[in-house]
Symmetry: C2
């Protein structure tokens, strides 16, 4: 929601810093503020009855924290959000934000676009987990993150910043940490991609996409429109 700074910046806002693993939003809480990640990564998770965690998604620098909170009023969010790396979050008052979004036509259609992307990705994630094999899941996971990093031009040097641990990736994809390690080893050996020192190197993007069986059309359509919103600002 990195949008139309003139309008948004008129809102009172506060920046808060978080250490890795620090809680940003509590599961079951009614959010009072609406946040956006100024820097760093974060993850949305759900604590299961047996104590294990399931990671529902990952937030990249510049992205929105829990878009839900703009629309659910006084209801609670069903997940918590923690910092994955050191992170800074910019907080806005929800009420004012929602009001602004409703009145300003441009803002509103932009929010609708983000929300539709949000719905898309929630559904897509479930489809990915249920149909792809482990390697395919991981490949899709990487491609999605890549797309989002590129959208915001977060390329650093030759590689991409890629802080999640194997255990976190596993919790995202419904795999075990050990097996994620094996997938990484396999992809590295096949010279498709390599992760080292929290950096991701894509060696053969074409084959990576083939493995991910990426649904080009449906995502492309959305990202093209999203990237247009960046050009305009």
């Amino acid at each position: 929601m990195e949008t139309s700074p003139e309008a948004v910046s008129s809102l009172r806002s506060a920046v808060k810093n978080y250490r890795p693993h620090q809680r940003i939003l509590r599961q079951g809480q009614t959010p009072e503020l609406f946040g956006s990640l100024r820097s760093g990564w974060a993850y949305a998770y759900r604590v299961l009855d047996d104590g294990r965690r399931h990671l529902q998604g990952i937030m990249l620098p510049g992205e929105t924290i829990a878009l839900d909170s703009l629309f659910i009023g006084s209801n609670t969010i069903s997940f918590g959000i923690n910092a994955l790396t050191s992170a800074a979050v910019c907080w806005f008052p929800i009420e004012a934000m929602a009001c602004l979004l409703h009145k300003n036509k441009t803002q509103r259609s932009e929010t609708e676009l983000w929300l539709s992307y949000y719905f898309w990705s929630l559904n897509h994630r479930a489809a990915n987990i249920s149909r792809n094999d482990a390697t395919g899941r991981f490949a899709e996971f990487v491609v999605e993150i890549l797309t989002r990093l590129r959208l915001r031009n977060l390329v650093r040097g030759e590689g991409y910043e890629f802080p999640p641990t194997q255990a976190q990736i596993a919790d995202c994809l419904g795999l075990t940490p050990v097996y994620v390690g094996r997938i990484l080893a396999d992809l590295r050996q096949r010279r498709i991609l390599e992760v080292s020192d929290r950096t991701l190197y894509i060696l053969d993007e074409r084959r990576l996409m083939a493995i991910a069986r990426w649904e080009g059309p449906s995502l492309d359509q959305i990202t093209r429109r999203l990237s247009r919103t960046f050009e305009n600002s």
Copy 2:
């Protein structure tokens, strides 16, 4: 969205009937109308690149078709919706509906509740698929549907109406039809539940819930509030 009939019924609406498997909403379409299932079941699906389908969710009688459409403006929905049984859908103009929801405070907070349930279920479904084993997934699937059927008092006789085929269940849970059959046989043999003649009989709800490892608290909280909205109308 079976709510405050006085207000909603003032909107122009049309009822349309559908045969089993008939398309209700096309994938990639911008919905012009907002629908609610007057009778029958429907399913939201996504066609994958390899031609297979993934079922994203199932809609029961009385429920809303694609709550998304109220919030995404002119964007497209990333899934299609088909009738699962013979079904009747009641269509409302989206614009008027959205406007009504925004102005009327009661309606609005009710929509927020439904939307938060929608977000919950999208996330929950992904968590279910990625963490539970096949039997657990199915048990959770059943318990969720059961909860929703009861919410609307759709009990018929001693059993519950349960039209989905094993192949559809499989596409919902990321399993194969054959294995779903084996799960059913196993649960029947263990006297936990039984499906015959499109009817579901719960033989041992306690054990079913245990298998589903149902997240009692988080769902209960929502359903209690949802059922309150039914009592009020």
